[in-house]
Point group: D2
Chain length 424, copies 4
Amino acid sequence: MSSVERAYRDPVHDFITLTDPMLIALIDTPEFQRLRRIRQLGASHGTYHGAEHSRFGHSLGVLWVMHKVIRRLKNQGIGIDPWSEQVAYVAALLHDIGHGPFSHALEETLTPGRNHEDWGRRIILGDTEVHRILQERDPELPGAVASVLDGTWSGPRLVRSLVSSQLDVDRMDYLLRDSLYTGVTYGVFDLERLINTLWVVDQEIVLLRKGIVAAEEYILARYFMYWQVYFHKTTRGQELLLRQVWRRAVHLAEERRLGEEWISRHLYRLLRGEADLTTYLRVDDHDVMAAVKAWTEHPDPILSDLSRRYVDRALLKSVFRVAHEEIDLSLLDEAAAVVRSAGWDPEYYLLVDRTKDVAYDYYTSPNGEEGRRKPILALDEFGRPQEIATLSHTIAAVATRRRVAVNIYVPADCVGAVRRLFAG
Amino acid sequence: MSSVERAYRDPVHDFITLTDPMLIALIDTPEFQRLRRIRQLGASHGTYHGAEHSRFGHSLGVLWVMHKVIRRLKNQGIGIDPWSEQVAYVAALLHDIGHGPFSHALEETLTPGRNHEDWGRRIILGDTEVHRILQERDPELPGAVASVLDGTWSGPRLVRSLVSSQLDVDRMDYLLRDSLYTGVTYGVFDLERLINTLWVVDQEIVLLRKGIVAAEEYILARYFMYWQVYFHKTTRGQELLLRQVWRRAVHLAEERRLGEEWISRHLYRLLRGEADLTTYLRVDDHDVMAAVKAWTEHPDPILSDLSRRYVDRALLKSVFRVAHEEIDLSLLDEAAAVVRSAGWDPEYYLLVDRTKDVAYDYYTSPNGEEGRRKPILALDEFGRPQEIATLSHTIAAVATRRRVAVNIYVPADCVGAVRRLFAG
Amino acid sequence: MSSVERAYRDPVHDFITLTDPMLIALIDTPEFQRLRRIRQLGASHGTYHGAEHSRFGHSLGVLWVMHKVIRRLKNQGIGIDPWSEQVAYVAALLHDIGHGPFSHALEETLTPGRNHEDWGRRIILGDTEVHRILQERDPELPGAVASVLDGTWSGPRLVRSLVSSQLDVDRMDYLLRDSLYTGVTYGVFDLERLINTLWVVDQEIVLLRKGIVAAEEYILARYFMYWQVYFHKTTRGQELLLRQVWRRAVHLAEERRLGEEWISRHLYRLLRGEADLTTYLRVDDHDVMAAVKAWTEHPDPILSDLSRRYVDRALLKSVFRVAHEEIDLSLLDEAAAVVRSAGWDPEYYLLVDRTKDVAYDYYTSPNGEEGRRKPILALDEFGRPQEIATLSHTIAAVATRRRVAVNIYVPADCVGAVRRLFAG
Amino acid sequence: MSSVERAYRDPVHDFITLTDPMLIALIDTPEFQRLRRIRQLGASHGTYHGAEHSRFGHSLGVLWVMHKVIRRLKNQGIGIDPWSEQVAYVAALLHDIGHGPFSHALEETLTPGRNHEDWGRRIILGDTEVHRILQERDPELPGAVASVLDGTWSGPRLVRSLVSSQLDVDRMDYLLRDSLYTGVTYGVFDLERLINTLWVVDQEIVLLRKGIVAAEEYILARYFMYWQVYFHKTTRGQELLLRQVWRRAVHLAEERRLGEEWISRHLYRLLRGEADLTTYLRVDDHDVMAAVKAWTEHPDPILSDLSRRYVDRALLKSVFRVAHEEIDLSLLDEAAAVVRSAGWDPEYYLLVDRTKDVAYDYYTSPNGEEGRRKPILALDEFGRPQEIATLSHTIAAVATRRRVAVNIYVPADCVGAVRRLFAG
């Protein structure tokens, strides 16, 4: 038996079998094991109780889809040099290594100005086990991997496209994975078919013409998942609430009303804005949850109430059953008055959620508002790569109309009054 | 134990458990058992080898989905009178009772001018076991069921909508069933969620506003299934070929060059245009296949060659890899010359397939070309029923642009020349 | 794009992708395409309506599992020479090529004294397309493949074990496939895990010690499928009935009371005992069903009644709800009297089914009654291959106690009286 | 729309739809929401990374299976009085309400002498939201539910059997759930079939005779899950390690070398043996993980090393690849010497795992060692309830032979030497 084989049983892909000792060593680092303690979908499990999975399984899955894609391309005679192939595997495995507690739900909240990509680069290039293992393989490797992740990679464009584009192995894994754990069908698409219709022209990934329907299904899967899962109003409200908890805690810490005894040492440093790499790597979902639980007993009534609401799921309520596309912002002052007169501080108890504020992108054409993203290409009947929305009315439909949503959350006792306000 | 319970194990819905003795008796009739011998998807199994399922399981599935929908509506306090409920179940079970060999692939080919709906009405109203069982329950029942199926039902419109509309239990079953057997994901949609968002306004089925995304998924599932499975070019070519076999046999029979010894007695009557109800009910896929197999040895070279091609899957080849939206019809004469000069009679060996010629309808808005179909309604934010495409850009996209496809099939030795012709 | 790639979409294994032109050519032969017209499970679809699948998909699946196993062994450094590997693939693909109408349900009934293995050998070695394609690759190939299938192969024993043993790729495919189509969980086992624990010692397949539980699950899956699906009393009764139809037809043909006009030319030759290879290859499920349907109108009352019962599923009824292990055979004469006095000829209307009469073998230890079968080996804690039942109490339990079942079928109007007879 | 309907999307059962406001209110209590923060399978996710699910979903699933079973029994005409039915639902929902951090992995470790059943009773009968809601419905309800859970229920025995027996709704849910999340097939069994073969005789659940094979599959599913998942050697080693961390922390706290600053206030009380109900309800997986993470920096080298090993998964290694049935215990002293001479304290670094020490019970006959458990009954051919192992050789095989396993875990640098010791 091969001594280095490592097999992970995965609910999405069945066995993920690895043989490269470096990849196995990377998985065994404390930095990567830490992903076991960071939920993939932030607070989604409050709405879809099955969605309790972590970034660990997703990262393995992304690596595995990369294996499948590269095997397919090779079988089709599409060359990829060994160095680029190695970089592609590592970049796939480590693409989320920089995520912090609750993933996107608290990103840039815990460490303002630094997103998970910044942290990822620091982990790969800094004084970490991950860095040592990469460097041992090849001193150029850490820099190459980081360049793929931050988009400055000067090697074959194919690698960057596979790791991060609108048709990348990241999305391919998480649609299937999040569907499985939430128990919905929305994100299910035909992975094997999609992979079997990939082709390469001028170092760019393109879809064969016969793959357009598979691509439509994939893009629609993204669309459905955004509106049924990722943007679910209860989840959004719960995540907004969590951010208020943190915001209040920061405020109290600044006023010296919240000290280290309420919270883990490392998380406290984040609260104080003193995040260095070592500190960041010590912090995960457990620290945040332990803190929020402790804060339910804090003397500050706002912090303890918000914390208790989060822990016991006594959430603020959404004013609208279904999110609005637009609301009259001038009414927000009146809504604040309603909330205040019920005894709540509107700064923490009147929450406005705009999907416009987040990066979402089931698919964006170059003409769309988010036109900087590289489009998905497919071959037309003459074998020329074209932006896929020009070949598919369905994709054009979801790509060109940017669907937005606005919702408002207030304590349950204010919902009626605020709703009447907006019903005009 | 209830003496009348009957449980069917179904790959799609798990157990289908029936307790109404009349429904069980209907299933046990020769007319219904005959559906076991009629493939659901005609010649699709030639392309997707798993799709060998019959109309029998589908019909049980449609009945079962009807049970689920009515149970849901009742739980929501939406009344349906016992008579209408009974009619709904029978109509669901029998909606395909009139299908003949190879379902749609030979519909109106074997019995010109009479489609499966005509035959269904005759079976329900004529001298059959099905009729006797219905009449025994209530002399009005056969007529009521037939009226639902032919659209003249004057009872609650809800029943007609559930049995046959753009959001009916028929489509709900076959999308899931055909996906399972073909092994694709395209037709998978969220059945339970869709059912849970059904509502009734003025005796019409409408979707709650929160159900719009589920409806989008369902309509897109139809769209994907049409283009990946039902309109697959190989399947279409195989079905066209089968029709040529039948056409040639009819021609030979008219010229007294093909007699009863080549074919089952009942099928021969169909060939001679002498189809009465008794005859029709004796004919199924087996008769057609036995005939085509026998004809591989018929002295007429065209009949035997076409038959052999069908049986051994030595099919005509499609000229275009992916179907065209339009082709220059004036070139067909030149194509015929190519085929003829290769020794083939273009009347049988130059086949043109136009999807435009068949009824397809993943969804049609009232403004679409097929505007007669009743639209799907959903509640807008004010609780008013609206045509769903006005509430969904995605549905509008697939509904308003009618996608058409044209393909041409010729013997393999002519593909190159004909392809060059159209490449201009 | 590789010009020879062929991808089959399979409900069990997803994509089955082939690149060896010879394997593709074998699939395209009339002899192999014929498997599309032979149901995998005989009359099982009468009981489990979903089980309408043919030997075609199963044969592709067996080839695919062989690919998986050999890839695994190679990855583990276990050599297999290219010639043996090629023989293994062909033998896997063609292992069922000799099956006739209704597979096991009519095996040796239609062609007494010749089972599907005999016919398979004749197809591989005789004047067929299959033979020509094999011989073109290598003149030794037909003989080598045939020798694997009939057990005389003198090459590495590994090949024979993989193709036909108690742990072969045939069983691995059909358990999963038959479970999917019937809609049951019984045959589900952990294919990937089982394959990942295969090893080779002295050219024999053995299981690693950590694979024993996976093997237990696999053997129990066989056990469950036998008793819930393959030996289902309704299925067994339906198959027995079909054999009586054929038996009566043979009898009438011998007495010159049934002629060629009732039946396809080739099937008539089988009925007359004149089966040669060409004839055999022309016959499939369709011929048999067309004949049985025609015979429903035959003047002989026994033939027409039995045929009608089969076609319309007005089956004989089993006397016992659950099969008995033993029955008092001396009572059969009295049962025959009951049947006769109700007006039925007991020679055709009193059917006795004994599972003992069929080859079944979820697993047989060398000490079992069927001790000739080669046992499954697993490594013990010292790395020595041992017969697996010595390492597993669970397997020992199903292996050493041969479960038998006896049931009796009579017309519905005789069930009560016969049941009382045996209740004694 | 019904105002009280609550629908949970479940990966195992699809929609779980509740309408009883009391059940919904129970789910919304802090005590029940706390189950979201307690992993179902302790440390199993270290081995099967997908198994990150909590007791929350399982508890909903158990309630749902109870609904299914009672609906089935009612459809079969088996009466259950409304009071007992209500008690059954509540008991199903709350059967795990007393579980603490890491479920079984730390049970009786964190609160010696009190298992999750004790805590459950205190939650139901004590000063909690759960208690208030039950009492509001009926003052007798808390006591009745508690009596079902602790086995003193004097109402219909059926209720106790369904909630807790060898064939209860708890097992039915977790086998399917744990299989889904781990990604294995082992626990998959035919839930619908099993439920459909339940019957009641003298207020006891029995299986119809035709259900014996389904019961065999269910019991074997338990057997497979135990040996492939629950007793996986890596998982067991990881859980043993966690207990050493806690043991060391208790020791240090007793010696006043570990104070409250390292740990949440409530967990510290548990560490000091001061667990009251309020304290217990504040503690979950997050507190334990936050503590273990903090302890990686504690000055005590044993505590910090064990903690770091747990957090970073630098686990102790099992000496045997596959667990032994017996080992020579007299060698443990020599093993301790090996470990000590490598610089490790054997009290914490030489761990012995005996499955004998845990309650496991895929099935136990009355004659087995654990004969106190009530057996599963099935009807024999004369309709008399019999212990199921007398009707099934397969069940007898797993029931009468108690499979035991022993393994030893030491630091990686000692594995070789200790292995040689036992290899003798």
